[in-house]
Symmetry: C2
DNA sequence: TTCCTTGCAAAACTTTTGCATTAAA
DNA sequence: TTTAATGCAAAAGTTTTGCAAGGAA
């Protein structure tokens, strides 16, 4: 277990630790994972927590804006949130939708373009799309 | 101009070249660009073409499934389509939403993880998120 | 005729918002 | 008591779908 003090983590990010937010934080941050709002809501309900849909969405956005979780764009359809905010990349199995982390040292860039004038790099989103290997004859 | 024969391109991808599809192809493929369904619809209407919303969505999905355009995930909110299907990457100005192409040679990987057992790499989506440079004192 | 495509409206899905109620400071 | 958070339902935005009508083969 690595969530000894969820309350402290919320407070450290300037987030008032209410009951619902702690439930959501517990569900999200109990282990590194990728969840959509709907999945999170389902998990909360199956855990017996009563948290409204609006609160789930609002809390996800709040957590993301405070850097507690990280929004992901992997399909154009819905938003995903990654409980791992450390820099890392992803494998994406397009067929199943499964997301897997790729650690930073697994990828090395020997060349990156300079950002346009007046801009700086805020982050790099790297998604390696996977498909079933075509069986070789 | 590099769209000498849109009809031929559609047919070559197994797509029946109807009037609406040619209008959409002309709008999309006239130049390398990134468009959402709504933007494409607006452009078609301003061009005087009457194409229904359903047809725009269906056609974008059809074109994408046949490899004529490429779906992009840059925000979790709506789908984007890139008329450039050649391998390349993107700058994404988070504030304005602007997307800019990054040519393949601008990025070099000196290390990439092997795909999981039984999987192969279908493609690499690389988005370099940009923000306004913080002015140095 | 037969099959495929289109348009319209309705439905489905995801996310946000208004507002009264409740909880926290 | 004052402020902030929650829940509910409604609204807003995006995409898909059912079906009748139109067009192509």
């Amino acid at each position: 277990m690595s969530h000894p003090d969820l309350t402290g983590r919320l407070v450290a990010h300037g987030i008032q630790p209410t009951a619902q937010r702690l439930r959501i934080a517990a569900a999200l941050l109990s282990a590194p994972q990728h969840l959509s709002a709907e999945q999170l809501l389902a998990q909360l309900e199956s855990d017996g927590a009563r948290v409204s849909k609006a609160t789930v969405y609002n809390t996800l956005n709040l957590f993301a804006s405070r850097g507690l979780i990280r929004p992901l764009s992997v399909d154009g359809v819905r938003a995903w949130f990654d409980s791992n905010v450390e820099p890392h990349y992803h494998f994406h199995d397009v067929e199943s939708g499964a997301l897997t982390d790729v650690a930073v040292p697994e990828v090395q860039f020997s060349r990156l373009p300079p950002p346009p004038e007046g801009m700086e790099v805020a982050g790099i989103d790297l998604v390696i799309r996977l498909r079933k290997a075509s069986p070789r004859t």
